[in-house]
Subunit: 397 residues, 2 copies
């Protein structure tokens, strides 16, 4: 670098003597809608401009050259007032800022501004060229249904193995009962890791064998999805172990293991991946964060989830029915060439209210029943009765 | 499983006919302090009990046997009122719920309850036995200082390469200038991924060569830490590439790449890891989330960060000086056998205020200067002047 020779008092930008050679059209730009808390319009405009800088060049005004402004800095496309002290800003980004990298996409959408306040990512307009960089679900809803042998006429039924503290053998007994009861997918509780009470490999071998035995006896296609969530150096081994044991899918908590693990595991191990929302909840405050239908809908679908578990309305968590319906919509709607991902409401669904949820959400989902089964005396019978209720309801009989 | 034969109306628990064989003492229990929003004491007590269940068995009252209650369910140790509608609950967990797994530790601390509301993880009492399961920083503050040849008498000085959009050659020119100016560590901006404008390998090779050239010319030990953040299948390759190019450290955004990547990369590639807080900010709302000194302090140190970048007070982000001092304290305090991790305040530090921060935080830190350098005409001279200011201030001359 040479000393500056530009006008005194302004930075010289000798270091930026270059031209960006990759050109993108307007329709290729990533268009992101943020809701901003701000008093007056000028405050909202300043906040929008700050996002445009923070998420790209991360530099103050006046410290970068015009070519960077034109091509790299986000562009505030519009700013409208929603209500008092609340504004909607649409900011567009050149796709060169993202490349083909899921994590960098998240960086651009909400990386550093997560550390600010009063910013909520409400919606993303996905350009087709950017979408085509992501594989999305390897199996999706159709693949999950095929694996379980369940037609579109009814939702899938999923049960959770729990509680932690049980031995692998005991968990396998529960898995056997659920499989005999006609459950379609049995997943590990997301808190079953590699605890001494039921180490991963022992648990997976025992539970998978129990489910296969039940399938032989019933002629069914129940699938067992163990929790493969683990550190970077272990998660691959766990998914491979599960696949080699005959499991056709795994559970992953991507907000712990890394958001890019979903698609990678699916591709590397040829298993379905079911995403669990553990550790994601802080994003969902009303005033600052990411709309649930964007993070658990769009993003987890892009990331390769064949199904996405979310906390259903009316259970132990505060999501509204409207929010849940929006998640479902974003998982299922046409989105580039990405397969749809199976909405999987859970988190305190009462077996008695299952018909309500089918009426509300339709049949393209997987109902995850946890505690409501365990409150009953006989898991096999409880599962069988619920499947019968679902069948009757969906057949209209 | 057999049909139940217990008292009518209560679940039978035939499925839980077992004994937990691993015994832990009281002092081994993980003690977690949560701040709860609740009206009356009975509401706060119910919320604390709900956390104890949600984070372990994830089952409703009455659906699991006494042995699980005694050993697995969290135990509410105390509940005290802080102020109106605010309570402090201490809940302890048997370490068997965690095992030796960082991600499962996070699951127990704040996994599912992240999806609820009005719960803030304020403090963790770390039992020595649990701490001994984690390696922590491989180098820590002493190792970073050794690599840069900087004594404890002054803080390290870190500069950031930016903005995205520059070519690898241009970024290398900037790196050369910073290294000639006496900067100790030059890190990639966390938004430099593998964009077409400066692909990772090209950038790392160019910048590392530039820094090595500067070091030969100055006799210095400036280190270049490229951003290795990438998906699960790439991050290892990137860290290895950096290490083989001669880099002695890498930057990682663990809230994107996965919290367990830090220690794994450090161990696998023998590099220092500097953690960036991108995508973590939603945890830091006042009413619901995790205290910054726990997440960016304790957790990132346990996870193996040799240094932790956080958004300093008085810059572009809303952390207070008290919060920043608490992060520093948790990174540096005695904690089992874990090495201290280098506090790295950044996010809008003005070069003019550097003496203030040294006075406030002491010398055991790394000052990260970004935009404030780029506002100046000559990066080399700006860095040199700042190092001179720091040296003079720390020598008391």
């Amino acid at each position: 670098m040479q000393n500056g020779s530009g006008p005194a008092g302004s930075p010289h930008f000798a270091w930026a003597n270059f031209a960006l050679t990759i050109l993108h059209s307007e329709e290729d730009r990533l268009r992101v809608t943020y809701e901003l808390a701000a008093e007056a319009e000028e405050d909202a405009a300043a906040k929008a401009r700050d996002i445009a800088l923070e998420q790209t060049v991360e530099l103050p005004e006046g410290s970068f050259p015009a070519v960077i402004e034109e091509r790299i800095v986000g562009r505030v496309e519009s700013l409208t007032q929603i209500e008092e002290q609340s504004w909607r800003a649409v900011i567009s980004f050149d796709p060169v800022t993202v490349g083909d990298d899921l994590l960098q996409l998240l960086n651009v959408l909400f990386g550093n501004i997560s550390l600010k306040s009063g910013i909520r990512l409400a919606e993303v307009g996905w350009p087709p060229a950017l979408l085509s960089n992501f594989e999305g679900p390897g199996l999706g809803v159709a693949g999950l249904r095929r694996n379980c042998g369940v037609s579109e006429r009814r939702p899938l039924l999923c049960a959770a193995l729990k509680p932690m503290g049980l031995s692998a053998a005991k968990l396998a007994e529960l898995a056997y009962e659920f499989a005999r009861g006609g459950v379609d997918i049995i997943k590990d509780d997301h808190g079953l890791a590699n605890q001494a009470t039921a180490p991963f490999e022992e648990r997976v071998a025992a539970c998978q064998a129990a489910v296969q035995r039940a399938n032989r006896e019933t002629g069914g296609s129940c699938c067992y999805f163990p929790n493969a969530t683990a550190g970077w150096d272990w998660i691959g081994h766990r998914a491979v172990f599960a696949a080699e044991a005959g499991c056709r899918g795994v559970l992953v908590s991507p907000f712990l293991a890394g958001l890019d693990t979903l698609g990678c595991l699916a591709e590397a191990c040829n298993v379905a991946v079911l995403a669990h929302p553990s550790f994601s909840g802080s994003f969902f405050s009303p005033g600052h964060g990411i709309a649930p239908q964007v993070l658990l809908g769009d993003i987890l679908r892009l990331a390769g989830s064949d199904g996405v578990i979310y906390p259903n309305a009316g259970g132990r968590f505060p999501f509204s029915e409207t929010t849940c319906a929006a998640i479902n919509r974003n998982l299922l709607r046409p989105l580039g060439d990405l397969r749809p991902s199976m909405p999987s409401p859970g988190g305190g669904i009462d077996v008695a209210r299952v018909p309500h949820w089918i009426e509300r959400y339709g049949t393209e989902m997987m109902l995850l029943i946890g505690g409501s089964f365990y409150l009953q005396r006989n898991l096999r019978q409880a599962a069988r009765e619920l499947q019968e209720t679902i069948r009757r309801y969906c057949d209209g009989t």
